[in-house]
């Protein structure tokens, strides 16, 4: 029996050892990871970053080598273009360290750039001599110099800034470009069109509630008793009617909290504005072709008074109660969709309450429209220009909204998830039609605020 036992022991030890060895070997023989350009083509402006993404984080330090083919263009800071890091013998070397998910380099226009027609340069990834990585399907990227670049396809990750999504991200699909702003850097947008309207910063959950007073100096904290409990996002008591103090998420300018801006300053009502935890009194009126705004802290006698002009290049003139006029949205023909948090009317007990949504997408109101398509009707890959013609496009800013993901089950419950049963078709102001599908709700490491979508040009 003792012999048997020790035999058993020895054989189990041997088995364990074998398992251990094979586990070690497995560690050694990880399949090579893939390296790819994030996109196959890109339009070059003054400076443009080009990303090389890894199929997984690198296990060890290493370097990526790119072969450059500059075509008719001359390399050099004083010539047509140059790169950072610099190219040596038509090759660019990008070092990476263990844990990196991607590397990038920049193409910059040189001082000598003066092109008469579209010019392209290409970069190609080279396979690793050690075999730790291999090139994938996006082995080559074509960079186009010229005004006419329209992306035929692309993949973009939104930089929402993390779990709390402090950023607003404006996306220009045709240029494969994003612009990121701090959502708390503004309060109001003064409409540049014919009407006189003011929108609230719905991404920063700004609220405005009218008082029955027109004299801003006569407004004191006494006028706001009970406001604190009522002016909340989210407001779980429908009885307060708090939905009236936020803008409609469909972007309808007839359903704003400020309403029609009074033509005469003497008729303009004072509003109590709640923004990021602090309170202001604000009075806005028309002033010629512009707007006048008076504002102050709740109990303050020091009233600021300024004028905000319309600028036809932008949807709105943006204004911060801390910093005055600020630059927020790109010019109105240079973006299509905005990603970030947003104030939404949510039905609770049959009444809408204002509720803060994360991961919300709104359209640019200047000529951008969109439609939802279910995969069960036409699968994404088969959707073409003919299909686009039979779609009904909507100008409501919330066509996409949060419909690309499910609502979570709350603290401790199931988190929100991607709705992969649908995709979107977006027509931009230049009549480019894109189909767009969200591929991730969270970053590849699970962090909220970094979703990714991919899109393809359907027609021009």
């Amino acid at each position: 029996m003792t012999n048997k036992l020790s035999y058993l022991n020895i054989s189990s030890l041997l088995v364990a050892l074998l398992v251990f060895i094979s586990a070690c070997e497995q560690e050694e023989s990880l399949p090579p990871f893939n390296v790819n350009f994030a996109n196959q083509e890109i339009g070059v402006t003054a400076s443009t970053a080009i990303e090389v993404v890894f199929s997984r984080a690198a296990a060890n330090d290493g370097e990526i080598v790119l072969q450059m083919n500059s075509g008719n263009l001359q390399y050099g800071e004083d010539n047509d273009f140059y790169t950072l890091p610099a190219a040596v013998d038509q090759q660019i070397t990008l070092p990476f360290i263990a844990g990196d998910n991607k590397v990038s380099f920049e193409i910059l226009a040189g001082t000598g750039l003066n092109i008469q027609q579209d010019e392209t340069i290409t970069f190609s990834l080279l396979n690793d001599v050690n075999g730790t990585f291999q090139t994938g399907q996006n082995e080559t990227v074509t960079a186009l110099f010229g005004e006419n670049f329209v992306a035929r396809e692309g993949t973009l990750e939104m930089n929402g800034g993390g779990e709390e999504q402090p950023n607003q991200v404006y996306v220009d699909l045709s240029k494969l470009a994003t612009a990121v702003v701090d959502k708390k850097s503004w309060d109001f947008g003064f409409y540049s069109g014919e009407k006189y309207r003011v929108v609230l910063n719905s991404s920063a959950y700004v609220m405005a509630r009218p008082l029955n007073k027109t004299d801003i100096t006569a407004v004191t904290a006494q006028d706001t008793v009970g406001f604190a409990a009522a002016m909340q996002i989210p407001q779980f008591s429908p009885a307060f009617g708090a939905i009236a103090w936020v803008d409609s998420e469909d972007g309808d300018l007839e359903k704003t909290a400020f309403g029609e801006i009074a033509a005469d300053v003497s008729n303009a009502k004072v509003f109590i504005v709640k923004r990021d935890g602090n309170w202001k009194k604000v009075k806005i009126a028309q002033q010629g072709n512009d707007y006048s705004i008076q504002y102050a802290g709740l109990g303050s006698d020091i009233i600021f008074n300024t004028t905000v002009s319309k600028d036809d290049n932008y949807n709105f003139s943006f204004f911060s109660l801390d910093d005055g006029e600020v630059s927020i949205e790109p010019a109105k023909d240079q973006w299509d969709i905005m990603y970030g948090t947003y104030t939404v009317g949510f039905p609770l007990q049959g009444t809408l309450i204002p509720y803060g949504f994360k991961d919300y997408v709104v359209l640019n109101r200047s000529g951008v429209s969109a439609a939802v398509v279910m995969e069960s009707d036409i699968i994404y890959d088969e959707f073409d220009a003919a299909d686009a013609e039979s779609l009904t496009f909507s100008n409501d800013l919330n066509v996409i909204g949060s419909s690309w993901r499910s609502l979570g089950a709350g603290p401790g419950g199931a988190p929100p998830a991607l709705n992969d049963d649908r995709y979107y078709v977006i027509k931009d102001a230049a009549q480019n039609v894109y189909k767009l599908k969200f591929t991730r709700l969270v970053s590849t490491t699970g962090e909220r605020g970094y979703p990714e979508f991919t899109f393809d040009l359907v027609s021009k």
Partner: protein, 740 residues
């Protein structure tokens, strides 16, 4: 390998038992001492009376064949003819349910019949015959006990008498279990080791005098095995179960191996070690891909006991360890430029509970009991990215939540008997430390000291037990909690119990120090919370129709003041928090029957439980209570000549109803009722092996309709409440080897 074990022990065991007549308990297989065996030799007409020792008698073979008649007070008499000496004779316990000894709430162990509290017991035979793999399976068959499931965490929330589980004190051998977790803020009963349970005692209603905080709706006391009549005992259990239709040899389904070893080192010392794995592969159900409807869960459990017994002094040390991993598998993400991956999350809990308990019998009439325990409980939730190509797990961003609880507990009581009366003086103290990422920063300390005094006075046919406790807490104020119970015996067959008790639930560390702040939530704990107080009235009438038929009619009324609920603040810049605000009430009655008739035992019951409707205070036309019925029936039929017993476990759970405001109008909403039925059969093969086969949830319940409105995060978006994972089947092998 396992089979080799079986064969090996089988051979050993047979050798040991030869040449004796062994008299054992049919269920425990343990030897019965003090049984009188009258033997009449059929050959020579000689007769002899023998008394068993260690369950055995020795006899020379010239008595055979012989007619034997066996008598023992606690067992059914038996008459048989024996032809050989290496015989096993098993006796049935006499079917009187009232001689059962209980300890919960008692000064010293005494029979159910004499207890001033109505104590319900569930013994290990019931647990085994149901093939239960967790405590919930057993308790959900009981009246006045309901569970609702939290699919996200795979735990279940308990309700007793319509009151939530955070008001229930869960004890192991009288020591509080530490580690309230989850949103429900209560002990996760699935984290208690069901294999080491000898029996469960349940007392409904407040037991605050003896057990202090949180013993408001009731006490569940898990009692473990502390001694054995056997010198050496080895028990190996293998439990294999399907989850719905899902089962495979190593991953899907339930795979629970367990090993127990007990040894009497000498007359004083007893040692027991045990351990095993509870593996639950999760339930796919309707979900597709990697994601499972119920998450896989794996528990490693180990326990040990060392006890010393002498005439005047008993002491034992017990250690219980649990390590649990629940894995939430994410869907596979396939992106063009990435390796396929999934976002998974692990919920890892560990609890190590150690206890030392002693009893000194100073004199015939004075007994000191002391208990000391230390528990360390930790829970971590860890999201990670799993690369499905390389299978690497990458916890690459800091989103782990951790919470820990450490608790040092002691209880010391002094019991003095004065003639027929008894008086107990006691103190207990708890030093609790907690911390974690979901609490506001810094370790939290919650210390309390309780002193209590109670007496049991026997005055003629009346037994009166008054008691009072006062607790001093480092965080909140408390008021004294008195109780009085009395029992009146109209006759030996009919007795009445009446009780009043005050109970309290201490604000939990979560309610005191919770912190949950993000875009849409600003919820923080309230360190100024006060305990919830309850007044409970209960009574029951016990009627013993025959020695084997017991009827019981019971009623209760609970009223809780100061109930802790979430408060919406008046001012916008204030966060939400917990305050003492509401009151809550429940009331109801139960009828129970326990019947033993020949080979059949049958428990049947009906309960009707009402829950207070807060909306009725503002809407006069609403009823103050909404009632829900429950029916249960558990049956066992034993065919001893075949070593076979067949059991059924049935419960009807009535609709759970509540009035809710729908567009400002109260409407009655409900979770639908359902029926539950388990069928099992156990067959003994030889003296060493029991095989149990069972079908669980024969009516194939998965979810029932639920039209309770949810909040913004509606937990029941599909309008249903999860109950179970469909009809399942199990087989359980129990190998038991005893050496005398």
């Amino acid at each position: 390998m396992k089979i080799t074990f079986y064969i090996l022990f089988f051979i050993l065991a047979i050798n040991v038992q030869a040449q004796t007549i062994f008299l054992g308990d049919i269920k425990t297989k343990e030897g019965i001492d003090g049984a009188v065996i009258s033997l009449q030799s059929l050959k020579s007409n000689r007769a002899i009376n023998l008394v068993t020792e260690n369950g055995k008698i020795d006899l020379s073979s010239d008595w055979l064949p012989a007619l034997v008649s066996v008598n023992h007070l606690s067992y059914e008499p038996l008459v048989d003819t024996i032809f050989s000496l290496d015989q096993f004779i098993y006796l049935h316990p006499s079917k009187s349910f009232l001689n059962e000894v209980v300890v919960t709430g008692q000064f010293s162990p005494q029979s159910v019949r004499n207890s001033v509290y109505q104590v319900r017991t569930i013994d290990q035979h019931r647990i085994k015959s149901q093939g239960a793999t967790n405590l919930q399976t057993v308790l959900q068959n009981e009246l006045n006990m309901r569970f609702d499931r939290d699919n996200a965490l795979g735990s279940s929330r308990l309700n007793i008498q319509g009151i939530s589980g955070q008001n229930v004190k869960v004890l192991i051998d009288g020591i509080p279990v530490v580690g309230r977790s989850g949103v429900a803020n209560e002990i996760d009963l699935s984290q208690l080791n069901i294999n080491s349970i000898e029996k469960i005692e349940i007392v409904e209603g407040p037991m605050a005098v003896m057990y202090g905080a949180d013993a408001l709706a009731g006490v569940i006391n898990v009692i473990t095995k502390k001694s054995s009549g056997k010198n050496l005992e080895l028990n190996v259990t293998l439990h294999e179960e399907t989850i719905g239709r899902e089962y495979s040899l190593f991953s899907d389904g339930i795979h629970n191996p367990y090993l127990q070893l007990g040894a009497n080192i000498n007359d004083q010392w007893y040692l027991r070690v045990e351990g095993g794995i509870n593996y639950n592969g999760g339930w796919q159900g309707d979900s597709e891909g990697r994601d499972k409807l119920w998450h896989p869960k794996s528990q490693n459990i180990a326990a040990g006991l060392l006890s010393y017994t002498s005439e005047k002094f008993e002491v034992f040390y017990r250690s219980d360890y649990l390590h649990e991993v629940i894995t939430d598998l994410g869907q596979e993400v396939r992106l063009e430029l990435r390796d396929p991956y999934a976002l998974d999350e692990k919920f890892i809990s560990s609890r190590w509970m150690q206890q030392l308990q002693a009893e000194w019998r100073l004199a015939e009439k004075s007994i000191i009991n002391s208990a000391l325990s230390f528990t360390n409980y930790e829970r971590i939730s860890k999201p990670f990215t799993k690369n499905l190509l390389t299978l690497q797990e990458d916890v690459s961003f800091n989103n782990m939540d951790t919470v820990f609880y450490r608790s040092l507990f002691t209880r010391n009581t002094f019991l003095q008997k004065l003639g027929q009366h008894e008086m107990q003086l006691g103190m207990d103290a708890t030093l609790e430390t907690a911390g974690g990422t979901t609490l506001s920063s810094g370790a939290k300390y919650l210390n309390d000291l309780g002193v209590f005094l109670s007496a049991e006075l026997q005055i003629g046919k009346v037994k009166i037990r008054p008691g009072i406790r006062h607790t001093f807490n480092s965080v909140f104020e408390t008021t004294p909690t008195p109780s009085i119970n009395l029992k009146y015996d109209f006759s030996k067959k009919l007795s009445l119990r009446l009780g009043y008790g005050r109970g309290f639930r201490a604000p939990s560390i979560r309610e005191l120090y919770h912190e949950f702040i993000d875009t849409n939530h600003n919820l923080i704990g309230n360190p100024n919370l006060q305990p919830e107080y309850s007044n409970n009235f209960n009574g029951d009438l016990a009627f013993q129709v025959t020695p084997a038929w017991q009827l019981n009619l019971a009623g209760f009324y609970n009223q809780i003041n100061n109930r802790i609920a979430i408060l919406l603040p008046e001012q916008a810049d204030r966060p939400w928090t917990y305050t003492n605000q509401d009151q809550f009430k429940t009331t109801g009655f139960t009828i129970r029957s326990e019947l033993g008739w020949k080979s059949l035992t049958m428990q049947t019951g009906f309960a009707h439980t009402g829950r207070f409707q807060l909306l009725s205070e503002e809407h006069e036309f609403l009823p103050g209570f909404v009632f829900s019925p429950e029916i249960n029936q558990n049956m066992t039929y034993s065919l001893d000549q075949f070593g076979l017993s067949i059991s059924s476990f049935y419960k009807f759970t009535g609709a759970f109803q509540d009035y809710r405001l729908i567009e400002n109008v109260p409407q009655l909403r409900q979770i639908n009722p359902f029926h539950w039925l388990d069928l099992t059969a156990t067959k003994s093969i030889g003296n060493y092996l029991d095989i149990t086969l069972g079908a669980r949830n024969l009516l194939n319940i998965t979810a029932v309709d639920n039209n309770m409105p949810g909040g913004v995060h509606s937990g029941n978006q599909d309008g249903s409440a999860a109950i179970a994972n469909g009809r399942s089947y199990f087989v359980r092998l129990n190998f038991n080897l005893n050496l005398d």
